[in-house]
């Protein structure tokens, strides 16, 4: 699925011709496909295919530059003397000469120079002046999907290829879209919501649909990975739309983890950790740092904790493996409240996910009792900071809504606003280091700050109080959102998703 700089669209589902989730991948070989985007591209390729592809690739690379000043600047020749215009509207890069033009300029350029092909600057789509339309040529689309980088050509696990594997493996019934509910087998919705997010995770899905762990070849009893494989088979190759009873998964979970046994509500986050661990083990997981199992490939990140002695300024760092970011919300909320805020104010306050991340990665004073400096010796006050050393393709974010004290457990209902797109760069070790340097050396001018854009892909919501609550989840397929509530699969809007009082959020890297 393509999404070069794709901005999210509101109300996709409202339009009549909505769900094209099943749009076949371009450039696939087994599906019927036109050889060229249009007759005119056909003759362009006939003249010099290698050159055409090379210039298109160059154009796509120009557009990939995050600053984007260059492709958005064009000469306006509307008046007598040319003026330089920087526009935020789409511009068009000529494929046959270095000109960059507005939409009007593009048409005039064709009249004057007979250059018929231009590349639109926001998405890199090819515009054919003869067709007077955008054309989607298989060869060009492949370059566009790779964003002009050759490296990605041989990466078969890319998100772009998600459908390729699915459709090439075997014949898939047209209705097998993976959109089914999971029956509540009696307080098992904590399991269902985690399974739904895994089912709609393109990386894990690719793994299972390309027979990454085929239950036919596995002899383990009550194997969780086999149960997962069974679910993927049921969801993506059976022509059924009713709910599915994940009995094997329930049994395998009970067999593997004593604490999960029984008819009782569990914590979805704890179940997720359990599931990740079990799948890691059953898919050739190793204990070493660089385990290459599907779970580690998808979710494995590292947190760096940097401690700086206040006296001798000695810095020590430690790395922690993580499968999610567990964020505090209680303190963030407290800090935001005016002292002496009324109960109503406390209930209404809304915090932002970015505030939670800021708080998670901010500097923190360690009292001397907590830190012993190895360099200057003895207990010293110090400053500690967490940062993300390694970002995985998919980042689960856990909002700490449940608090367990010895006596009882409570739930925080605080609203946490979260974005559809999240730039995680500011929370990385690299960004924090750069920030620290900046504050030391005055006059340090940062370059255009790089972005690590993650897109929201799933949301898990806990409704009700801690004991009798219910879990539901939202998952994104392409640009469409779906709500899963036990055995129901329902169309949802972006607005519905953003309204949700999230417990777990899943962000997926826009580019891998």
């Amino acid at each position: 699925m393509d999404s070069i700089g794709a901005t999210t669209k509101a109300s996709q589902l409202v339009s009549p011709k909505v769900t094209k989730t099943k749009a076949a991948p371009t450039g696939s070989s087994t599906l019927p496909n036109a050889t060229f985007g249009c007759e005119h591209v056909q003759s362009l390729f006939k003249a010099n295919k290698a050159l055409a592809k090379e210039t298109y690739e160059t154009a796509i690379q120009t557009l990939a530059d995050p600053r984007r000043i260059k492709p958005q600047t064009y000469k306006s020749s509307s008046s007598e003397n040319d003026t330089i215009v920087v526009s935020i509207k789409p511009t068009y890069l000529c494929l046959q000469c270095p000109s960059i033009m507005s939409a009007d300029g593009r048409d005039k350029h064709h009249e004057a120079r007979k250059h018929a092909f231009t590349v639109e600057s926001r998405h890199g789509c090819l515009y054919c002046q003869f067709c007077r339309d955008f054309v989607y040529d298989p060869e060009f689309e492949k370059i566009r999907a790779q964003r002009g980088t050759k490296r990605k050509a041989d990466d078969s696990n890319g998100i772009e290829d998600q459908r390729l594997v699915a459709t090439h493996a075997a014949f898939v019934p047209c209705r097998a879209t993976g959109l089914r509910g999971l029956y509540n087998m009696g307080q098992t919705c904590f399991m269902s919501v985690i399974l739904q997010t895994i089912i709609h995770n393109p990386l894990v899905r690719n793994f299972y649909l390309s027979e990454g762990h085929s239950s036919r070849d596995c002899d383990d009893e009550y194997c969780i990975s086999c149960a997962m494989d069974e679910i993927f088979q049921e969801f993506y190759s059976a022509e059924k739309t009713e709910g599915y009873g994940a009995v094997s998964m329930l049994l395998a979970s009970w067999m593997a983890e004593q604490a999960l046994v029984g008819y009782q509500q569990q914590d979805a986050h704890e179940y997720m950790q359990f599931l990740f661990n079990s799948l890691h083990q059953k898919n050739g997981g190793t204990l070493s740092e660089d385990c290459s199992c599907i779970i580690h490939k998808t979710f494995y990140g590292q947190l760096q904790s940097t401690v700086r002695c206040d006296k001798c300024k000695n810095i020590t760092t430690a790395l922690d493996p993580v499968m999610d970011l567990s964020l505090d919300i209680r303190d963030v909320k407290k800090r935001k409240l005016e002292p002496g805020a009324s109960k109503a104010e406390k209930a209404e306050i809304k915090i932002d996910l970015k505030e939670c991340l800021d708080s998670f990665t901010q500097k923190e004073k360690l009292p001397a009792t907590d830190y012993t400096c190895q360099k200057c010796g003895g207990s010293q006050p110090a400053t500690k900071q967490l940062s993300i050393k390694r970002l995985p393709p998919v980042v689960p974010v856990h909002l700490k809504r449940f608090e367990h004290s010895k006596a009882n457990a409570t739930k925080l209902e605080t609203r946490v606003a979260f974005p559809l797109q999240l730039n995680l760069h500011p929370y990385t070790t690299r960004a924090k280091d750069a920030n620290n340097k900046k504050s030391f050396a005055n006059g340090f001018v940062p370059k255009a700050s790089p972005e690590l854009v993650y897109e929201l892909s799933a949301v898990i919501v806990h409704k009700g109080n801690i004991d009798t609550g219910h879990y539901i989840s939202y998952s994104r397929e392409g640009q469409d959102w779906f709500l899963f509530d036990d055995n129901k699969a329902v169309a949802a809007s972006e607005a519905d998703v953003l309204e949700a009082n999230a417990y777990l959020l899943f962000y997926m890297a826009r580019e891998l």
């Binding site: 794709a6 909505v18 019927p32 496909n33 998405h123 046994v261 950790q273 493996p321 036990d486 129901k488």
Partner: protein, 386 residues
């Protein structure tokens, strides 16, 4: 522009600038939306034009090809065919003109049937032309109180005991009367085709056979039943246990759980060490089990006997010794519904309209009803989906 010049701009000019920037932003949002939809639609139409050309070419082949297998790459005749939207030539297809103009209909590239263009109900729905057969991938329905396949949710307040039974009766009636409701093959060549929406209504709740006692029960009561059936005293604070296991919060990446995996609940080991986790319809021949008073020990032995019987039945004339060794594996394989043997299972479940079968179902539902009274307090809200 340097800073001074900017500050010299008069406020009126600023408002013009702000307006223009805002306009351009809206322009971009609309541009992106339109382009995305345009691409999706045009790619589908391109494929449709190709499918039409390929199918026309195949129809014109000297000797008609064998009926193409679904999904198999279609044969490539060495001829040249022109359709309105494309030219087919020796296995390759070239577009003619803009497929958005030449090819009004979207044909599914997989099953080669036309796609329904609008949802059948709800937002943006349109009455479909029922004289055609459509690809099974329908546009998803967006309608309050309905799922994406257009199935209506059962109304929550209608869950009085009587009504629940009514629903069950309907389900039974449906099970018995429409054996072919799941038939995915092409319908007979009549003039009008019926639209197959979701294959089961939302209120449909499948039966699940308990791997331990072989009783059939509604899947919504499975966890509760299994807990009792396995004799798990259960209710120990799982949170405390979990906290101990996962250590501190989310840092669980490398924690090996290996040692724990091997030691399931002692109480459940006997029962489950040898059991197939799911075996739908397995209780068919052994309904007498259902009527027995659920004394745990008795059940266990009973069950082993039955497992033996089954094993022998399944493996035919193999020696008992050899079946014993490979037993768990076989069981496990049986338990896994592969897409391949799905059809078979379906038939057994739904398509079977034999008379004795009905009797069995009645008995089953009775046993469920008695069970329901046991745990009535919790039972009611778990059916509401809590």
């Amino acid at each position: 522009m340097d800073k001074e010049k900017i500050s010299q701009l008069d406020p009126a000019a600023w408002s013009v600038v702000a307006r223009n920037v805002l306009d351009d932003c809206f322009h971009n949002i609309i541009h992106d939306m339109v382009l995305e939809i345009h691409r999706e639609e045009k790619v589908l139409r391109m494929q449709s034009a190709v499918v039409i050309a390929e199918d026309t070419a195949r129809a014109q082949m000297p000797e008609p090809p064998v009926a193409p297998v679904k999904g198999a790459p279609p044969p490539t005749p060495n001829i040249r065919v022109e359709t309105t939207g494309a030219i087919y030539e020796n296995g390759k297809t070239f577009l003619r003109g803009n497929p958005l103009q030449t090819t009004p209909e979207v044909i599914c590239p997989q099953c080669r049937l036309p796609r329904l263009q609008y949802p059948i109900t709800g937002k943006g729905s349109r009455e479909p032309d029922l004289s055609k057969e459509y690809c099974m991938f329908y546009p998803f329905v967006s309608k309050p109180g309905h799922d994406i396949y257009g199935n209506q949710f059962p109304t929550e307040q209608a869950k009085t005991k009587k009504e629940r039974e009514l629903i069950k009766q309907q389900q039974r009636a449906e099970k018995d009367n429409t054996p072919g409701s799941n038939d995915t093959g092409t319908p007979p060549a009549t003039q009008s085709f019926t639209l197959n929406t979701g294959s089961k209504p939302i209120s449909y709740i499948p039966w699940q056979t308990c791997p331990s006692c072989k009783r059939s029960l509604l899947i919504t009561r499975f966890a509760q039943h299994l807990e009792k059936c396995l004799g798990i005293s259960g209710r120990q604070s799982s949170r405390n246990a979990m906290a101990k296991l996962t250590g501190n919060g989310s840092v669980s990446g490398n924690t090996p759980l290996g040692s724990r995996m091997g030691t399931p609940q002692p109480g459940s080991q006997n029962n489950n060490g040898k059991r197939s986790p799911t075996k739908k319809g397995g209780a068919d021949d052994d309904d007498d089990d259902d009527k027995e008073t659920p004394v745990k020990k008795k059940k266990k032995s009973n069950y082993i006997k039955k497992a033996d019987r089954e094993r022998l039945a399944a493996s035919g004339a193999t020696t008992p010794g050899s079946t014993h060794q490979s037993d768990p594996k076989i069981k496990l394989k049986i338990a896994k519904p592969k897409s391949g043997d799905n059809g078979v299972k379906r038939e057994r479940e739904d398509g079977d309209g034999e008379v004795p079968r009905k009797k069995i179902k009645m008995q089953r539902s009775e046993s469920i009803r008695t069970e329901k009274t046991e745990g009535d307090d919790e039972g009611s809200d778990d059916e509401l989906g809590a």
